[in-house]
Amino acid sequence: MSLRSNEHQWGSVSKFLHWVIALAILGNGTFGLLMDLASSPMQKVNWLALHKSIGLTVLALVLLRILWRWGDRRPRDEPAPRWQQLAAHVVHGVLYVLILAIPLSGWWYNSVTGKPLQWFKLFNLPPLGAKSDALRHFAHGVHEYLFWLLVLVLLAHVGAALKHHVFDNDNVLRRMLPFGRLRKPLPEGDRR
């Protein structure tokens, strides 16, 4: 498996970034929703600090992923009706926007609350905006509902990938799986 993508399969860098970001966002999103389970104010402070550190890591990985994608080629679209290919690209575009917007909105929310932003106790980052008690509730809502929107869009993304894998028996999912082996391409004439 090569680092770069080829005509049929995503390269290992793209695969790695795809799955690490997916796990980190879902894990950190769930973690974020469970913050109120903290048993003490200080535990919540520490949980939030961890949530923010993971979120900043996601942001860095997403930027890296976009940069890498710029320089790397994409595998060709798998055979499918044109509308499905278009829908897939739109969903991918929305996902990119959301995985950038969610950590950024968290950073902005943190700025609005006036709290420090520290990455794993190693260094601090500046606020993205002024402290504002009036915006606090709104900024939190933006951060949380963007995540729910992501979950919704993910249903389409994951649903489509599974549909291709299970019902169409094609390589749409396989070409992104960490150790996935491609199915032999169908002969030209058999393509739907």
Partner: protein, 182 residues
């Protein structure tokens, strides 16, 4: 002889007489501290405190500072922090409403005057040293003092809050006093 006696008496006086007593001008004076939280420094101030200042740079032995701080009057620019600080884990103002500092002696280290004294905070009394900068002015003086205390020496931020990687261990104390001679 009578003419000489008065200047001689004046020369001898500093050894016996008390240092000048000063009244603090609260509107132009501040008493506060700074520390770090998650790698970011923050400043705190107390709104209510009193200070009895007797000071004479030429007669440190007769000088004295006595300061009492109402701990619940703390403000740090963050409402979460301001509501936590008077609580049981920090100042515990329900049990210990005030902090008290009284000098026990002054000394010189080169050009720097250092005030030694005892700080009582949260029921714990410990020696604390403060750097003193005293500038006489018409009718009074400006007094700046600065020092460092370890918050855990006084049990400020106990339990979970003892983690100094989140809340800094060393708290810098700073006071700026505008004084009018009594």
């Amino acid at each position: 002889m009578k003419r000489l006696a008065i200047p001689l008496l004046a020369l001898a006086l500093p050894g016996i007489a008390a240092a000048t007593d000063y009244i603090v001008q609260p509107a132009s004076s501040t008493l506060g501290f700074s520390n770090t939280f998650q790698g970011e420094s923050f400043d705190g101030h107390f709104g209510q405190w009193t200070a009895a200042i007797s000071y004479d740079p030429a007669n440190l032995a007769a000088s004295k500072f006595d300061v009492e701080v109402t701990l619940a009057s703390v403000k740090t620019g963050d409402s979460d922090r301001d509501s936590a600080l008077p609580g049981k884990d920090f100042f515990d103002t329900a049990k210990f409403p005030t902090a008290h500092f009284a000098t026990t002696g002054f000394r010189r280290q080169g050009d720097q005057v250092i005030a030694g004294g005892n700080l009582t905070l949260r029921g714990v009394t410990r020696p604390v040293s403060l750097d003193v900068a005293f500038k006489p002015q018409a009718g009074g003086a400006v007094l700046d003092v600065a020092g460092t205390v370890k918050r855990l020496d006084f049990g400020v931020g106990s339990g979970d809050y003892a983690d100094t990687s989140v809340i800094g261990a060393d708290v810098k104390i700073k006071a700026h006093l505008q004084l009018v001679a009594q």
